[in-house]
Subunit: 466 residues, 2 copies
Amino acid sequence: MSKSTDERLRRTFELLQAQLRRESEEPVAPVESAEELLARLDLRVGEAVDDERLFATLDALVAATPRTTTRRFFNQLFSGRDDFGVIGELIASFLNSSMYTFKAAGPQVIVEREVTRRMAELVGFDQGEGLFVPGGSLSNMVGMILARNAHRPEGRNEGFHGAPLTLYASRQSHYSLPKNAGMMGLGRDNVREVDIDSEGCMRPDALRERIQADREAGLDPFLIVATAGTTVLGAFDPIDAIADVAEEFGLRLHVDGALGGSVSFSARHRGMLAGSDRADSFTWNAHKMLGVPLAASVILTKRRGELHGSFDEQASYLFQDAASQYEHGTMSIQCGRRNDALKFWASWKSHGDAGLGARVDHLFDLARYAAARVESDDALVLSKDPSSVTVCFEVRGRSSEDVCERLRLEGRDLVGYGVVDGRRVVRLALVNGAMDRADVDAFFDDVLAVAAHSEQSDNAIEAAAE
Amino acid sequence: MSKSTDERLRRTFELLQAQLRRESEEPVAPVESAEELLARLDLRVGEAVDDERLFATLDALVAATPRTTTRRFFNQLFSGRDDFGVIGELIASFLNSSMYTFKAAGPQVIVEREVTRRMAELVGFDQGEGLFVPGGSLSNMVGMILARNAHRPEGRNEGFHGAPLTLYASRQSHYSLPKNAGMMGLGRDNVREVDIDSEGCMRPDALRERIQADREAGLDPFLIVATAGTTVLGAFDPIDAIADVAEEFGLRLHVDGALGGSVSFSARHRGMLAGSDRADSFTWNAHKMLGVPLAASVILTKRRGELHGSFDEQASYLFQDAASQYEHGTMSIQCGRRNDALKFWASWKSHGDAGLGARVDHLFDLARYAAARVESDDALVLSKDPSSVTVCFEVRGRSSEDVCERLRLEGRDLVGYGVVDGRRVVRLALVNGAMDRADVDAFFDDVLAVAAHSEQSDNAIEAAAE
């Protein structure tokens, strides 16, 4: 290690420690516009700058970055900073392994295999396997590709001709499904949005009708996607009943458990995934409820060899040990692939199954507590009983959008709004294991404080904006 | 910051420093089989372990991981450790931004915009833009999707029906093209492998004939992919002549410059990309020749708005500022997306355009030096004059595969083999800017030392293995 590398690492750690202090003293970063930031920070690249100036710019950049790791960040389905999640990520970045072969990544691919094998077991795929994929959207795409290739095995080589293929998911399913359908050549219009019940869960009867109607119209249904944890309401589709429909029609079943997969650690809540063992594939993001850094998304499959069957390619300079189960590059949509497994492995080792289960239980409890807090206050209106770890509500007579914006501009909290039943609502995401009831109370105190001068609105929105 | 977090970070840094010492003293990790590693290391997850035991396991795991960052790692098209590349990555991991909106990532999305805008200019897209994508394979997929959507605008919504779409790339193009074609529903068979010349570059005359024949057969050619830096030979297709063919037939042109894009920093070598300004899109991986950690891959487009046109989806809970140019999630194949921009930005700030250009020149010089070293030794046979930063050769009468395996087993060097003109050859990848001529000399000394007891072979392979 050169003297300068050592010195630079030391300065980096001072910078990170300064940020830890800032996060603790001021959990929401000062708000500036993009124009102000561009004018103030030296962000252009071209001329070399010396270490002094570069560290100063980095420090200013870090200070101005929204603080996703604090107890005041409720804006996304990730929040907080898990010690060993971060440590695993730092080490992985430092080692710079590429996860395609055992020769290049050694024990890191074994780590990936151990983690994904255990995750597969947890969702009921006892003989299953899995792989890290850069994000839940792409994990869902892998599940969609596996399903299409199973349905029309000739298509991978020949392309897909004949009757249009259709897939089915709830109206509350993730937007990656139509996005992926566009990318995969299925066509976004061939993603059927199935009606939901009052809890935001897909209705198996509506699903059955929709498939039946498409079949009769000469289309070729191939896949149902059940959502375990929708983005706004955190609702869980009834997987078991949906699996019945999949069986009835001979369709594949993929579970988008990007948010909800983590409940499999909880003895109290894992029943929400009942029937997942009957699915063919499963998306699960450990960077959501479990708090490891982005991205820690996994595609799980019931059957070993399916990933290989859809993604193996010849590359004689790279894949040279076909007998190995650790040539993960032949199971992946990527070639070079960073190590997203180590951070979750390290976090899991540190907490154990029991610790992760307790974290999930804690988050559910916090959501119940927050809902009760809303119900106890006449100024607040609960949109629905929370299904899992998000709580949607309104401030009576006040614009949900404006409430969120004021919380941000006043440096109090970062929280987002969504749409529920045609109304704009505040969505409080409780996914940070370090939070406790005092944080929830502080949040609602902030909400009430800014609501006093927020814009009036009944929050009803036009259908087009939903 | 809690006491325990502080202590854990301190231990992490001791662990990284121990690894730096190991890398310097023993640049190739001890070789163990997967079975030995599984037996020796406590890799199972389930029970919680205490910090003491977890750090001990992490340390053993780190020590056993192949060392991609040393001067003895020639196995991949990445190698080494750039100080500010690593620092940017450590900071990004710590901040855990998700790059979909300005609200969530603030100045980090401005950083991404600055870096990609300048990269676009460097390849000749003066009005272009770009986005970070997790790896070159997926960047190529984005280029392929943009091309298909431009060719058949109705397809994104309706799916692709009618005449099969075909695309064209050289026989030496990257395996991600057929992989992506399988994923996108094009069919792997519809990727046409075009003949190459003696340097490994696509022949424009063969390309023209192939397109013409497919058109006459009723197929629907839509895209040519030119490769700037092939994986084994580092060859650069003649982009300008290929652009003529693309124009003649009205086809899109994508450049896979995952390896070669970086030569645009070099005044001496950027002529190898001549014509890239005529392409529609361009893949460029900064984690290859420029040495920043994996992954730092970018898709660049000539026309602003094309990414948005293919990947925007409604998500009322997330994309709430349609007027903003910083809603990068509406340009991306991902939803949640880690910050891969900061590491390249930090490295670029540190080196400047001139420093990165000098790095590229240095790597080309090293390759020339290595080739001359091969030619000066009767025991070695140069496969071809190097086109860029890889050098392919054989040890006369010795198995290339066995030479590589002995280098690894004896803890000397990690280097891979590939196939050139029906012969198995050692591929020396010179992409680590910290290496110098002494490292090249040391490598060949090692090669000759192990060759003395390597298996005999003429390295001719069966056509099927190519």
